[in-house]
Amino acid sequence: MNSDNRFEMSTPYTPSVLKPKLKVGYYHHDHWRDINGSAVPFRENLTIPHVCIYGKDGSGSWSTTDFVYATTCHEVVHVSHWEMIGEGAFAILWLNPKTRIIPESWAVAVEWGLTNLEYKVLGQKYLSPQALSYNFNYGYQSWYLGRNDFYTPLFIDLIDDFNQKTYYNGDNRPDDKVKNYTLSSIESILFGVRDYEVLKAMLKMNKPVGVTDGDIDDLINYYRNI
């Protein structure tokens, strides 16, 4: 995947003498745990890949191929984030329930972007209107407070032009007036982000035209207070 078809984001993983190539493995089912994917970038084992993707869920049902693709992107984004900020910082972010929203929601945003892109390419190739209008999980825009604690549309909300609060109503949805950030600009910001205050400050320093500091505060504070 070159930088053009990954929204100019950085290479997710760079092997070196001490770091072997990233191994991504597919299995039909994880018989021990009810999971669809896992990423353990620091695991060095000749037989187990760093990233594992599972075709079946805990109940034994097959996942659809778009979901398998999205899950693969999701897990590789974790590896990329881990490599970008370092193992210690990533562990602090991920293990703290208050900040785990950041790595998980970042992975959600990239999986959404890349899966949609894949379907757009397929739609153009096969002239399929359904593929061209495809929007993975509808951009997580129907998410609301209490439905899912970590996998939120926080970073998708920075990119899209859709305000869930006015569209769906209710205080259980974020007032999303922020738009026009890109995946690559957010990735650059995440390099130094360890908490919500830094995230807000970095977003304000790099805000697109038309976005105010207040809009950023409203959006990020909403997710911070989950």
């Binding site: 991920w94 129907s142 439905r147």
Partner: protein, 142 residues
């Protein structure tokens, strides 16, 4: 004391391995979305995407009955009114096949706002309030 020190070191190492071996495990979670009809009227919940009715997401409930719509997603169940090709433009609650209530115009009656009643259990109740509102907006109540 040396065996104790070694034991504690081993314990810490095992703890770290357990923590890190579970790092970034993304779980597919399914949940129950219960829709309860507490009225004496038959209810059709018609979901419209891009101006067209969506059969996959629409459903109906008999009087004083309930139905369960199971949905799954990474980390938690996704919204029962959304799919990869459908983000609803409107959700019509139709009573007895005749009296519609556009819940996107009267958002306080929007069934997308399910209440969380358990870790993966959600519930929404259609009550007499919905019916009265439907009557009102259709001009049956003055």
């Amino acid at each position: 004391m040396k065996p104790m020190k070694t034991f504690f070191k081993l314990l810490i190492s095992v703890g770290l391995i357990v923590i890190f071996s579970h790092a970034s495990c993304d779980k597919w979670v399914c949940g129950d979305n219960w829709f309860v009809n507490k009225t004496m009227h038959k209810i059709n919940v018609n979901v419209y995407c891009h101006g067209e009715a969506n059969n996959e997401l629409s459903f109906h409930i008999a009087p004083y009955d309930s139905i369960n719509r199971m949905t799954c997603g990474l980390g938690g169940p996704v919204d029962p009114f959304t799919s990869n090709t459908c983000g609803p433009d409107s959700i019509l609650v139709v009573f007895n096949d005749t009296i519609p209530l556009n819940t996107f115009r009267y958002l306080e009656y929007n069934p997308m706002n399910l209440k969380k009643i358990g870790k993966t259990k959600f519930r929404y109740e259609f009550t007499e309030m919905h019916y009265q509102k439907a009557l009102e907006v259709n001009g049956y109540l003055r």
